[in-house]
Symmetry: D2
Subunit: 345 residues, 4 copies
Amino acid sequence: MDKIRIGIIGATGYTGSELVRILTNHPDIEISLITSESRAGELLSDVHPFLQGIADQKLMSVKQIDDYELDLVFLALPHGVSMDFVKRFKDKPFKIIDLSGDFRLSSAEVYKEWYKTDHIYPEGIKQATFGCPELFAGEIEKASLVANPGCFPMSAILGLAPLLSGGIVKADPLIVDSKTGVTGAGITSKAVNLYSNVNDNFKAYGLKRHRHTIEMQEILNRVSGKETLIQFTPHLLPVDRGILSTIYAQPGQDTSDDSLKEVYEDFYEDAPFVRIRKHIPATKDVRGTNYCDIYPAYDDRTNMVIVISVIDNLIKGASGVAVQNMNIMFGLDQTSGLNMIPLNP
Amino acid sequence: MDKIRIGIIGATGYTGSELVRILTNHPDIEISLITSESRAGELLSDVHPFLQGIADQKLMSVKQIDDYELDLVFLALPHGVSMDFVKRFKDKPFKIIDLSGDFRLSSAEVYKEWYKTDHIYPEGIKQATFGCPELFAGEIEKASLVANPGCFPMSAILGLAPLLSGGIVKADPLIVDSKTGVTGAGITSKAVNLYSNVNDNFKAYGLKRHRHTIEMQEILNRVSGKETLIQFTPHLLPVDRGILSTIYAQPGQDTSDDSLKEVYEDFYEDAPFVRIRKHIPATKDVRGTNYCDIYPAYDDRTNMVIVISVIDNLIKGASGVAVQNMNIMFGLDQTSGLNMIPLNP
Amino acid sequence: MDKIRIGIIGATGYTGSELVRILTNHPDIEISLITSESRAGELLSDVHPFLQGIADQKLMSVKQIDDYELDLVFLALPHGVSMDFVKRFKDKPFKIIDLSGDFRLSSAEVYKEWYKTDHIYPEGIKQATFGCPELFAGEIEKASLVANPGCFPMSAILGLAPLLSGGIVKADPLIVDSKTGVTGAGITSKAVNLYSNVNDNFKAYGLKRHRHTIEMQEILNRVSGKETLIQFTPHLLPVDRGILSTIYAQPGQDTSDDSLKEVYEDFYEDAPFVRIRKHIPATKDVRGTNYCDIYPAYDDRTNMVIVISVIDNLIKGASGVAVQNMNIMFGLDQTSGLNMIPLNP
Amino acid sequence: MDKIRIGIIGATGYTGSELVRILTNHPDIEISLITSESRAGELLSDVHPFLQGIADQKLMSVKQIDDYELDLVFLALPHGVSMDFVKRFKDKPFKIIDLSGDFRLSSAEVYKEWYKTDHIYPEGIKQATFGCPELFAGEIEKASLVANPGCFPMSAILGLAPLLSGGIVKADPLIVDSKTGVTGAGITSKAVNLYSNVNDNFKAYGLKRHRHTIEMQEILNRVSGKETLIQFTPHLLPVDRGILSTIYAQPGQDTSDDSLKEVYEDFYEDAPFVRIRKHIPATKDVRGTNYCDIYPAYDDRTNMVIVISVIDNLIKGASGVAVQNMNIMFGLDQTSGLNMIPLNP
């Protein structure tokens, strides 16, 4: 088979470098184009020196995109910027996987309510498929525009879907207490990711109104067929990578540890990257991989279901699931190029 | 005034060395005796080398306790061991502050249920006062045996007391999602506190049945006058010190951010170590101090109250509150010797 | 005695907040004025939220300095900026301790060579006393302008002075391999102190031409009476605070572990903040304190002297030694307000 | 080609799990046997839970080794234990790569001097080849017993070999100031790798007599044809993985930054895992990979050569170079199975 020709738009951030890291060893693709407006003309390894000798491609401007024949473009851009490119590219022959939040929600109205910005390309929202392979592989297979999930939603949705799909828990209220590594805040230096503000420290942020709340809620509405109501609290961990979500829900029927485990194993029977764990998982158990590790439990003293869900936010929460979506879109095995084993320790 | 003569039983652990750190600069006491059975005869600074030149006292065996005139003894021992000493010391002239979990619960039966051990001195449980100065200063003043609170309970109780005392939230269910630094696991080397198991990592543990659950619940029953039901989940942070508890409760009446803030400020008006914070606190904001920082919030979208409560687990969660209790027991100013300012960064 | 009236010029950085942290508990001073041009009008605790309830002073502009009667002003400003203020304040009645590098070197020419900037106030260089209390207490006592030492030089000078003063090692070459916590890079967000660039990482920087090289060399020339030649390599540690310097020198005479220890103990007999350690010190052994811990050793296999020297870069390497210098300038006990005990862990 | 059949003796430590991590994705081998005496009968993923679903093999006792046809055995055992197995296996048909220090030195006498233990199998020392592929690929190709290098020696030898081989620096004294991640201390819990002793901390250890000193020295004697004398000081970093060595040497001839760079690039022209870096490398630049990154510099002010050399201690310093040696021994491409890209951040 011919190699799939890839463009990566936006290479200076973590999702961009992570795409390069994963795709460099992918057997079925070739990276034809990597762009950066701020660093065009430089080598990728000037921006990310650890790639010296591994990925020394020259960074181009996105203006040169028409010089390349591309089958798929990854947009590794901030929200608000990304929708502009999706619009510009709407008649191009290549498929798009957008890693920003611009095409994940149900409408321009909802987008405006949570992102406080007008959406300039509502048609794109209608076309876009939400790129959660464990739920929507059939749609992704046929999609030309995939909205890659947010990192927190990925952990929460995979953690809650089996419960809501089966009616095992009530849809309201669902508490998602999430803890993320600092790469979730991006590569730009600011107080929030300053070493001495993060190291040996821990805090909550974005109480009540984090944008990922609505993303979780809308997708879980689809899964459950009901109106869910999610209380989502993100916290910042002194780690580079990893999200752990602790989820609390009230059962709608009799349950137990064993029956919960069975529900999850059945639900994810064909999902190569979801591991239902024997022991409570830690973020380092999935570091550097596309796995989502899940541990469900039932507390009969309190009649509460507790689910622990763990991912690497840059991989299963961003660039890895993007490659998994690409694999599905091009009829490859879902796991192609994604056979990374956790780097632990 | 004569200096209060102090004995510290058990100096090799973190609570012991932390007591020494705090008491060395306390103007109203003198440390007469420090014991360690495993290291008797050595200097304290051989066990904790950072104390060289600061606290070079010789460690004694507890068998020599009768050679010393003591006004107060701190027991910095593991649970299960501590009750034996409390019993042995029952006719001694000194007061006791026990930092273990042995005398915090309401009865030997409850103790056995949660600690899986028989209690050998149930009379002590009856005599003991729970050492939360913000709630029980009057009792502590008169106590001869104080059960110093557990670290997680301290953060949860101070975070919830104003809500439950005022009937602002329902008593059931209350979710306490806590994250602790690793010193909470003690100084003994084991897999759980091995550097490479903790660093750049995060995990939950003790799901459903952590012993601090019942401690929180019993004290909050007293505060609320109702049966509370607490879902408590501890997590292990890659930090040395600090506990942050994220607490979720459902309102029992109309509320708002502002009214919550007022409730907390009123409740803790006379509490010198509780700070109701303007911004969401981080664990490093209290590191090295006896403060408990609290931030309450109300989410009108979900009708849920969220409270963030932060302490240094070795100080406000152990040795600092022990000194605060000592101050109260001896009629000193609560803040004496406790004027530490957060080490941040 | 009347309290010494203090002004702190520049409060948004770490040396400024650290001065406030130390001075707040100092028994002999009062902080009359804290300035910040960028945040004037706000509270200090808005800039450093961990100080809420502890140090809520309003930040003023330095323009208002004449409204205050001051005995001493600390300049906690960047180099290049500081000299401008020293010049402006030259006829003021208060003494000055400058924490920048502007007045540490021997001449405007040397300054220009290493700082790549013209010095605008060479007269100040002549007046200034280098604020190393262990070497120059007599001069500091009489000084009106003290140039507070750099953090790396403090660790290297205290580590090498006994050897060079006694002619025990050759003056050339001396290797100073130093490792610093990230607060040494300041509070401004930039790539070098971005969490994910520092965490779980380690690197050298500033090879060959770091400005602290010449500062060490000039002071050690004074101490040894010879031309020293120092090879200084700084490295960046994933820690907040702390400098450890590993120093290599060739003996000029017979020596041994024991005789080295004696040399150091004699040399620092009257230095309350230098501890000659029994065991190899770690940076955390001095965290949060004004101590410099030193461990000298002689390797007879290689005929080399190795010295380990450890400080907290923000305290003994900046704000703590500044307070120690203040104490000396005002005839107080050197240790006044500096009785901090290491925060370990 | 038939797959190479591999046995791994000792799977509970880091070098064992790292071998599994690397070999699981190696295209040319199959893991036939993994042993552990303490955990025999359990699954590998019970010992290393992050391997659940990836490497669930059952652990066997080494006593069962004769039930397997093996082409190569990796010994991932402590020194002192390993030599016993090499002796036991001397007539077996498989080749051996020993990851311990037992067969790296030149004689049983030298071994005894530095390891303080009698060597029980001196014949093995004579047969063994030192497994540094960049220096001794020809010997490794023919070897049946390879002594895999120590982690510090690997970084120091690769950093110094081009200088000593070309006579560019003097052989005496050479200063190797190394900083290592904590996995170098092994997986067994002890004070030295307790989280709170390592986190936010830094210290030197093993001054003067670390066993790796003699390993470096003997190999560099071979490279230089002279008697080298190495002053080696290891330090413990608060990171999981990585060694950075800062090396100081005095030139024996005229040199410069550019000429040094050329020397290194020539020397390592055919070494696929050595990168001569444009910028000063950090440990995270090689994390999770088999690279050794080197940056040489010349300081004309002091007439000193400084070399920075960086590896991942568990990979290029242990299990990765072991696989590279295996590749050479079996005529595979050196890079087979070793195409890992740095996990950064």
